[in-house]
C-alpha cells in the first residue's frame, strides 16, 4: 500500500469531501494563499478557489462564530485553528454556540461543523503554544472530539467528521504532520466513537490517543523485549469514549495504564480511571496508573520539556507498577 504523510491524509479527506459536497468549505488563518501554516491545505485554493478556501484575519472568535452561523444556515464548514492554543479566544463560540444550539433551539438548528488543527506540544514552543485541551472540549455535551494518531485514521475519521451532523473538534499535531503511514487509494470512512486495539496482549492494558500513541507503542515494544505482551488501545475519539473496548480489555488483562499528554487534573485519564473502577472493579489486580504531563506549564529548555511530558520511561515504570514488577 502507498505511504503518505499525515498532512496529505488530512488534505485528501478535505478535498474528497469538498468534491462530494458543495456545502463544505475551509476557513482559517493562512489556509489559502499561504497554502496552510503547516501545509495541510496545500493546493486546495488552486483546486477550489477563494470561495471555498478562505483566508481570515487573525480573529478566531469572529471566524469561529461565522462558521457556526453558516452551519446553522445550511453549510458544512471546516474551521481551521492554526493551533488549538488559539481556540481559547474562540471558545465562547465553540461551547456557547456550536455545542448548545441544537439543544437550546429544541432541535431546530443543528450545527454540522468541524473545528480542526494541531493540539499539544510541538517541541520547545514554551507555555502558551504547548497545551492540550482535549479534556476541556470532551467535557462539553453537544460536541464530539476526535484525536487521531496516524495517517490512516486521520483520513477516515476526518471524512466522518465532515459528514457528521454534529459539531466535531478534530485535534492533530504539528509533530505528526510529517509522519508517513499506509493509506489506501480507495475511499473509506472510520466511525467516530470507536477505539482500536492496535496491539494485543495479556499482561496489561495501555490506553492512549493522539501522538502519545507513539509513547505507548514504544513502551509496549520495550516490554515485549522482556517477553511481556501489553495490550495497546488507541481511543481515537475522546467524546464519546469507547468504554466497551477498554473495559473488555481490562477484564482480560486485569491491569491498566493511561498515557495522555494533558495535565492530570480532570483529564481523560481521570475519566477512564473512574470508569474502570466502576465497571471492572472486581477484575483489577492493581490500582490503575496514569502518565500525564506534569502539573505545570511547559517550559522552554530541553531539560524542562523532558521533565514535564509523558515519555517511554515513565510509561514503563507505570506498567511495571501495575504488574508489581
Amino acid at each position: 500500500m502507498r505511504l503518505i504523510q499525515f498532512r496529505e491524509a488530512l488534505r485528501e479527506a478535505m478535498c474528497e469531501e469538498m468534491r462530494r459536497d458543495e456545502r463544505v468549505f475551509l476557513m482559517g488563518e493562512e489556509v489559502a494563499e499561504y497554502n496552510g501554516a503547516y501545509k495541510v491545505s496545500e493546493g486546495m485554493l488552486a483546486e477550489f478557489g477563494p470561495k471555498r478556501v478562505i483566508d481570515t484575519p487573525i480573529s478566531e472568535l469572529g471566524f469561529a462564530g461565522i462558521g457556526v452561523g453558516a452551519a446553522m444556515n445550511g453549510l458544512r464548514p471546516i474551521i481551521e485553528f492554526m493551533t488549538f492554543n488559539f481556540s481559547l479566544v474562540a471558545i465562547d463560540q465553540v461551547i456557547n454556540s456550536a455545542a448548545k444550539m441544537m439543544q437550546m433551539s429544541g432541535g431546530q438548528y443543528p450545527v454540522p461543523i468541524v473545528f480542526r488543527g494541531p493540539t499539544g506540544n510541538a517541541g520547545q514552543l514554551a507555555a502558551q503554544h504547548s497545551q492540550n485541551f482535549e479534556s476541556w472540549y470532551a467535557n462539553c455535551p453537544g460536541l464530539k472530539v476526535v484525536v487521531p494518531s496516524n495517517p490512516y485514521d486521520a483520513k477516515g475519521l476526518l471524512k466522518s467528521a465532515i459528514r457528521d451532523d454534529d459539531p466535531v473538534i478534530f485535534m492533530e499535531s504539528e509533530l505528526m504532520y510529517g509522519d508517513k503511514g499506509e493509506v489506501p487509494e480507495e475511499e473509506y470512512l472510520i466511525p467516530i466513537g470507536k477505539a482500536k486495539v492496535v496491539r494485543e496482549g495479556n499482561a496489561a492494558t495501555l490506553i492512549s490517543f493522539g501522538k502519545m500513541m507513539k509513547v505507548a507503542l514504544a513502551a509496549a515494544d520495550e516490554m515485549a523485549k522482556e517477553g511481556i505482551e501489553v495490550e495497546v488501545i488507541d481511543l481515537r475519539t475522546v467524546r464519546p469514549i469507547d468504554y466497551d473496548t477498554v473495559i473488555q480489555s481490562v477484564k482480560k488483562t486485569n491491569r491498566a495504564v493511561v498515557v495522555e499528554e494533558a495535565w492530570p487534573l480532570g483529564a481523560i485519564s481521570s475519566e477512564l480511571t473512574y470508569h474502570i473502577q466502576r465497571f471492572a472493579f472486581d477484575y483489577l489486580d492493581a490500582p490503575v496508573r496514569r502518565v500525564n504531563s506534569m502539573d505545570v506549564p511547559l517550559g522552554y529548555a530541553p531539560t524542562l520539556v523532558e521533565a514535564t511530558l509523558p515519555n517511554v520511561k515513565r510509561t514503563i515504570e507505570a506498567l511495571n507498577a501495575v504488574m508489581y514488577r
Binding site: 462564530g65 454556540s97 433551539s105 429544541g106
Partner: protein, 356 residues
C-alpha cells in the same frame, strides 16, 4: 462606590436622547394602510404580551431571567415590513418581540416562557432562547455579542449559496464593546456579507450608561473604522426604522455588503425583571414614553384616516384575546418529559450519553 448624584444620572440619560425626527407629521411618510395596520397590530401584540409576561413573572409562572422589550417594539416592526419572508433574523436575549412580530404564534412564545413542551424551543430555551425556524428566526442568544458573528455566518451562507437574502442581526448597546463585534464587522465588510447589523441602543448596558463605557458614544460611528456604511436611526419611529432597513437591505442585495444601523430606542422596564433601574430618573423614562412608538403610529393613522376609534378598540380587544389564549394554552400545556433531556443534544440518535 459613592452614590451617583441625581443630576449626573439625568445628564447621562439625556445624551442618549434622540431628536433625530422631532415630531414628524403624518404626510412625511408614504406607507399604505396595510403597513400601518401591521405595525400597530404587531407592536400592540408585543406590548400587551410582555405586559402580561411581566405580571406572570411576578406570580412565578415564568422563571429564570426575563428581559422585556417594552418601548423598543418599533425596532422589530419597522424592519419586518422592510424585509422579505426569506430573510434571516437573529438577536440577543431580549427576544420575545422578534418572533411575535415575525409571526410565531403567541401560544408558542408564552408556552416557552412557561417552560412547556409546546413552546417554540420545546421548553429548553426559556425567555432568552426563543427560536423559530418557520419564520427564519435564528434565535435569542445569551452571551452578549455572541450572536454577532453568528449573524454574519448566516449571511455568509446566503452569499455562498447565491441567494438574494439578507440577515438582520440585532444587538444591544452593550454588545458593541465586545471583541466579537469588531472582529465581525471587519470580516463582514471585507467579504461584503449581506448582513444588517442593528444596535438597539436603549442607553444602558444593564445599569451602565453608554457614556460610562467608552469615549465613543455615537455608536453608529464604530462602523466607520471598517469603512462600513453606518447611520443613526430614530428607533421610536417605526417608519424611520423601515426606511433605514430597506436602504441597508437594498445595498446588501446588490452585493455591496453590510450596514451598521444604530436604533436609538428606550426600554421602559428595567434590564431584567429584578432590576429596579435606579440608574435613571423617572423624568427620563417619562420623556421617552411621550415618544411611544405605538402611540406615534396610532396618531399618524388617525391623521391619515387609516384607522378610527372603532378599529383601535377592536385591535385592543383582539390582542387581549390572543394574549389570554396564549396564557391559557401555556398553563394547560405539559412540561417536557424528564426523558427529553437526552433529546436534541445531538443529531445522532444513538449518542451514548454517560449516565453514571
Amino acid at each position: 462606590m459613592a452614590q451617583k448624584k441625581k443630576s449626573e444620572v439625568t445628564k447621562q440619560g439625556e445624551q442618549n436622547k434622540h431628536s433625530l425626527t422631532p415630531d414628524k407629521k403624518a404626510e412625511v411618510y408614504d406607507f399604505p394602510q396595510e403597513t400601518y395596520r401591521f405595525w400597530y397590530e404587531k407592536m400592540l401584540l408585543a406590548r400587551r404580551f410582555e405586559e402580561k409576561a411581566g405580571q406572570l413573572y411576578g406570580r412565578q409562572k415564568i422563571r429564570g431571567f426575563c428581559h422585556l422589550y417594552i418601548g423598543q417594539e418599533a425596532c422589530v416592526a419597522g424592519a419586518a415590513t422592510a424585509l422579505t419572508k426569506d430573510d434571516k433574523w437573529i438577536t440577543a436575549y431580549r427576544d420575545h418581540a422578534h418572533p411575535l412580530i415575525l409571526g410565531t404564534p403567541a401560544r408558542a412564545v408564552m408556552a416557552e416562557l412557561f417552560g412547556k413542551v409546546t413552546g417554540c424551543s420545546k421548553g429548553k430555551g426559556g425567555s432568552m432562547h426563543m427560536f423559530d425556524k418557520n419564520v427564519n428566526f435564528f434565535g435569542g442568544h445569551g452571551i452578549v455579542g455572541g450572536q454577532i458573528p453568528l449573524g454574519a455566518g448566516i449571511a455568509f451562507a446566503e452569499q455562498y449559496m447565491g441567494t438574494q437574502n439578507v440577515c438582520i442581526c440585532y444587538m444591544g448597546d452593550g454588545a458593541v464593546r465586545q471583541g466579537a463585534f469588531h472582529e465581525t464587522l471587519n470580516m463582514a465588510m471585507t467579504w461584503k456579507l449581506p448582513v444588517i447589523f442593528v444596535i438597539e441602543n436603549n442607553g444602558y448596558a444593564m445599569g451602565t450608561s453608554v457614556k460610562r463605557t467608552s469615549n465613543v458614544t455615537d455608536l453608529y460611528t464604530l462602523g466607520e473604522a471598517y469603512d462600513m456604511p453606518s447611520e443613526p436611526v430614530d428607533g421610536m419611529v417605526v417608519e424611520e426604522v423601515h426606511l433605514a432597513v430597506a436602504r441597508a437591505a437594498e445595498r446588501a442585495r446588490k452585493g455591496e455588503g453590510p450596514t451598521l444601523l444604530e436604533f436609538r430606542t428606550y426600554r421602559y422596564k428595567g434590564h431584567s425583571m429584578s432590576d429596579p433601574a435606579k440608574y435613571r430618573t423617572k423624568e427620563e423614562v417619562e420623556a421617552y414614553k411621550q415618544q411611544d412608538p405605538i402611540e406615534q403610529v396610532k396618531r399618524r393613522m388617525l391623521e391619515k384616516g387609516f384607522g378610527d376609534e372603532a378599529y383601535f378598540k377592536q385591535v385592543e380587544k383582539e390582542v387581549k384575546a390572543i394574549v389570554e389564549d396564549s396564557v391559557q394554552f401555556a398553563e394547560e400545556s405539559p412540561y417536557p418529559d424528564p426523558s427529553d433531556i437526552f433529546k436534541d443534544v445531538y443529531v445522532q440518535e444513538d449518542y451514548p450519553f454517560l449516565k453514571e
